[in-house]
Symmetry: C2
Subunit: 451 residues, 2 copies
């Protein structure tokens, strides 16, 4: 056996001491993680060293690239369209995927979107889609291509073979307290997005009381890292820093979010959904612009609005759901399909303004109602969830409904009700509310100021 020139112990020691690994060394590490030829203990030591010391631009590019190619990659080239996607760092009531994917597809782009399940206090796109009877989230590569060919957009779950190195490393990070590194988060997200063969990507990086990164500076740092990493991988990319300080739109919960999205796509506008529509149009506008179908993001946004008004986006959504096996007849009256076993209306104990929302607590309450899982692989309820009747800054009378809780197991209502009561603050003065889009970071911003 020829002597192996790279030794994992040397890579650990170098990162421990704040040094830099070469692309070949990072490739060795990622291949060893995927094939399990490097021990979990050595990987854990390296991950902790990387968590504390950080990664250089070259290291992050090499890590993302090695992870991206650690398994099967999807090639959208045969579709003959520019492939675009949107990624969100996660929030409560965040259902923009259901709007932006059909809008971008209706604009002539391909949207091969690989999504996840409920995590922590946030819901999961796949769980929401599976509340549509018949919708299959696990497709083969061939089926995925076929849906994209037919509908222009497809939202599926991660296959076993896509980025296997991330599967190993993510499980290990979760086990060893090394999740919250912007570098490791960036490599994990970007490797999966890049493995889908995208030409352009829009990032929705949430900040505020319901975001994983509550601190604005942390969110901005991650956004810059991701834009730079996308740039280094040769795709068009932009990141929007958006506010997540109350549930996005009207509903949080699985079928409830499909319902809200379908109505918006059907051009039925509810006042409580206004923030969701606004954010979705801006995100879709950036996708259309970066995908080359508009001269700038503002023109893209106008195009997005037209594609909703014309019904073109709704048509894509219906085709996509049908191609996945989902029952689109329910979309004629989505409210009628919503059959929770119990509900409770939370009313204001005093008058004033809705001044603050502990949105992470709201998210946990929604999960406890049954929308999330008690344990990995467990079931989720289609009909559990929350309807907000007021938004941050609203003038409220004592006794006025603030929100309605829905569940399939009525004995579950008490704890979430208490959590929600504690999470909503009514005060005498109206709050300062941040703009929905707080900052946009593009390649140009990255070139001018290195993180």
């Amino acid at each position: 056996m020829p002597e192996q020139t790279i030794h994992m112990i040397d890579l650990i020691r170098r990162k421990r001491d704040g040094g830099e690994l070469t692309p070949e060394e990072i490739q060795f590490l990622v291949a060893g993680a995927a094939s399990q030829s490097i021990s979990q203990a050595q990987l854990a030591a390296w991950l902790m060293a990387a968590w504390i010391r950080g990664l250089s631009r070259n290291e992050l590019h090499a890590l993302t690239t090695a992870m991206r190619f650690s398994g099967e990659v999807f090639d959208p080239t045969p579709l003959g369209k520019t492939a675009v996607d949107k990624h969100s760092t996660g929030g409560v009531g965040d259902k923009t995927s259901f709007l932006v994917a059909p809008i971008a597809a209706a604009a002539g782009l391909a949207v091969p979107m690989i999504s996840g399940r409920a995590l922590g206090h946030t819901g999961g796109t796949l769980d929401k889609l599976e509340s549509i009877p018949g919708y299959r989230t696990l497709l083969s590569s061939e089926e995925f291509s076929a849906v994209l060919e037919k509908a222009g957009a497809s939202i599926i779950g991660q296959t076993q073979n896509l980025v296997p190195a991330d599967r190993v490393l993510y499980a290990l990070r979760d086990h060893t307290g090394t999740v919250e590194s912007p570098y490791l988060i960036c490599a994990s997200i970007m490797s999966k997005k890049l493995a889908a063969g995208l030409n352009a990507l829009v990032l929705d990086v949430k900040t505020g009381s319901g975001a994983f990164l509550r601190n604005y500076a942390d969110a901005e740092f991650l956004a810059r890292l991701m834009v730079r990493t996308g740039e280094d991988a040769g795709i068009r990319i932009a990141a929007l820093l958006t506010r997540m300080d109350e549930p996005l739109g009207r509903f949080s919960g699985n079928w409830l979010e499909v319902w809200e999205s379908v109505e918006l796509l059907q051009n039925k506008r509810h006042p409580i959904s206004a923030d969701l529509l606004e954010l979705s149009l801006v995100l879709a506008g950036w996708m259309i612009y970066l995908g080359g179908k508009a001269g700038n993001a503002e023109a893209g946004r106008q195009r997005a609005e037209e594609l909703i008004v014309s019904g073109a986006a709704y048509q894509v959504f219906e085709q996509m759901v049908a191609a996945h096996g989902g029952d689109t007849n329910l979309f004629r009256n989505p409210a009628a399909f919503h059959k929770p076993a119990g509900l409770r209306v939370l009313t204001a104990s005093r008058g004033g303004y809705l001044a603050a929302v502990d949105c992470t607590q709201v998210g946990w309450a929604v999960q406890r109602l049954g929308a999330g899982r008690e344990q990995v692989g467990g079931p989720v309820s289609a009909h559990a969830g929350l309807e907000m009747h007021v938004k941050l800054g609203a003038r409220i009378q004592a006794g006025e409904p603030l929100c309605t809780l829905f569940t399939e197991e009525p004995h579950r209502l008490d704890q979430p009700e208490q959590m929600l009561r504690a999470a909503l603050t009514i005060a005498d003065e109206p709050p300062q509310i941040a703009r929905m889009i707080r900052q946009v970071i593009t390649s140009n911003d990255i070139r001018s100021a290195e993180p």
Copy 2:
């Protein structure tokens, strides 16, 4: 099952973020390491975080204590004597244990000494003792007590049950690049020494070209940590920072070092052994002082010298070796037992002064001659090794012998010869030579300046 209140993931995250663990949390971690109920990956992540962030005084005390009591502990109380020991951080030709243990025992102290094997470029006390035919280094606790009762001193190997947490953590540190942390080194050394039930301990912390810690500041930092940790454990302790910039004494190698020690104990003084004798007398003097058998270290040193001159120390050594099953008849003429299969004399290629020694390289040459192991558990040669004919600063004529290489496999001579030639520097000017004892650190020094 009641919920466990301590979770390893929280301990990892706290140390990762530079926080402090409570004694209960450290106890949980050490118990989990010893019982293997905490995964290697989680331990590795914590060790890396501790390597980079360091440990507070309370954490180091708690870690050392928890490790100390993770298995069986030895109780020397029934011996009715004060128990003392000496620990060296390791060097080339370092055989002071063979002198200080019998001297301290002859002074009326108990010396329960638990030693190690060859490691890296340094020789191992147990390997040296096993070059004495019949010497058993693995004794039960009962046998250990019996030898101590009879001879006053016993040098044995670490039993399976002594500090099992260190065994797990050390193997993991070796595997994950987390060996060279002064905090983790301190806990590893001190837990084992304290598990032997010592009342007093003298540390020989080496610095220079043959030491593991070449940098003086690093050695001093470790010395202060160890003195403070001993202090916190309630023992009397002092650390001597000593020079290790050339092999200590005349010989390096297994039987060769027994030979040199026996002759010194027999009061036969060889000029090249002068530095070894000097250091041994100072160390033994501190042991005698800290063990309460002299009013200060200088008085202890004088007592040590008397115990050699009187033959009392030699008598203890002979009794100890006999009690371990070793053949003491060989001590009548140790040179006669030395039967290497081949030797080579290295001579000076030019005249001048012996100006510098790359002592780590000298150590590796000695190990390559056969005194060390090719792999863990492999055999070592009793008769391989090195004799130095000159010391640092010596005036040398061209062609004069510098050292003699001994081996049991004559084909092995070439590479060590080259290494030694490269390791010894002859120059026109005499070098600056540091004092043997560069600094003494006692509890008083620790109290006045916290590391």
